[in-house]
Amino acid sequence: MVTLDVKGASYTYGGEFSLNDITFSIKEGTICALLGPNASGKTTLIKYLSGMFGYTATTVMIDGTDIATLTAKQAAQKISYVPQVHEASFPYPVLDMVVMGRNPYLHFFSLPTHKDYLHSSAALATLGISDIGDASYTELSGGQQKLVLIARALAQEAPVMLLDEPTAHLDFRNKLHILKTIRTLVKKKGLIALLSLHDPNEAFMVADEVLMMTQGDVKMKGPADTVLTKEAIRMLYGIDVDIRTDGQSRFIVPAPAYFGDETNETTDRPDE
């Protein structure tokens, strides 16, 4: 059973963004959502785990291996990263973008082999976007671009996938599509996925577990259904909400008083 164990991760930069002694564990086949307001440390945690700031010893263990002892390439075989925003500088064809994910497996100065291209094509197929393999990345829609970045991360064949706000900047349909894609991927391939989300409803839609952060601390963690409560939301975002359920899924709505006008009675009432 592959697990991601994070023990005592701490980091400060820029004076504002920091992590304070973060500890948690995620098993394979699990989607863990990182929730929290701005500057809570969610993105910092994701970046920390992706190796941007270097790793401290024994802080991040994957399947029992201390990632700090690995080279950059070896680490990239364990953790893949899907950025929130990718500034495309060149109009790389999609397949070329995805094959870059095979970099951790390339020796010294070699180019990607036929096998690498096969892996990449397979990644595109898994995500259902084989048809855009030859298109230029820069000419795709936001949703398609996100899928390409996920395909690239997939091509890395890493057990852990980090996604920084994967639904940001996407329209409604694409948001749902991406969430569904991630969930399917994780369950099918037994990945460990850690994604930061702005909207707690998305966590209900897709996450098995939830980590709630404010000001660099993990305040709560656990299964989504148990941990995401009204009190938890109020603690995180400072807003009063109701959590409704229709039996199958749960969703969060603002409490009636939130939009209610104190002087006039409105005819709008929330559905039961």
């Binding site: 190796g51 950059a72 390439k73 990239a76 075989q77 990263y81 060149f90 100065f109 180019l111």
Partner: protein, 327 residues
Amino acid sequence: MNKGAHSSFQYVLPPLFFIIFLFFGRYHISPQDLIHATQQDAAWILFYKVRLPRVLIAMFVGAALSAAGVALQGISRNPLVGPEILGVSSGAGFGAACAILFLGNNMLSIQLTSFLFGLLAVMISYSVSKSLREYGSSTLTLILAGISISAVFSALISILKYVADPYDDLPQIVYWLMGSFAAVTWHNAFNTLPGLIIGIFLLLLLRWRINILSLGQEEARALGINYERNRILLISAATLATAAAVSISGIISWVGLIVPHITRKLVGPDHALLMPASLSLGAVFMAGCDTIARTLYTFEIPIGIITSLVGAPLFIIMLKKGGRRIW
């Protein structure tokens, strides 16, 4: 993938044009003349001792500048970047001016000094950009530092021009700065070839990594590449190639900027393809322009004029052609 089709073309072009260009010149030499010529004949001397090293070096210089341009455009993710951006040309020019003024008029000292100062200028640019790190993205600070250091060395060149003897040293400095392959001999070719070859070779070796580096520091790290180390490697290789080129031919700008663009339009942005294709096109382009420069009139036309007059329309035509975007 049709990547195979492109590759064979690019290996054939340079040798083919090499042979073709060798038979151009003010003095008419046909293949028959050459076969029957002895070492004393003008045809033999001109072909083997004058044209051969010249066309060879022109090709290597064109290839080096183009490869350096590809690498630097990739690293800095900026289409306006050429190999001069980090200051190597201004530094080399300053070195040459110093050699002309203080070390006597000989090719060897000029080559050496210009080469060393070219390297020095880039090292200074790099150090300055490191110290500016917290003020902006590393690619931006690198470009800004390069521009500033270029400006400093250009100003120093102006000072040297100011104090130079206007009848003797000054025209030499001006002429050297303009760029020319007229003075290439086997002797100074041998001095320059190692730098050119090593630089080009390294750039070829690293070409795939440019793809990864062009994604930016964050993603490059996540894909398993040590961003800073590879950046230094590429900058060093590009600088080595460019400094070697400038030390023998003076400053020929524009080639390193547009050849990568034209090639990118032809073969796409994948640097695994782009690098060898740019080497090929750059070599043929430069040698072609030099052939025009040395054959059209009785006197030599400064090569910078030809590369601009031929290159700019070519560039615009390529831009307008349909097909893939270049950026």
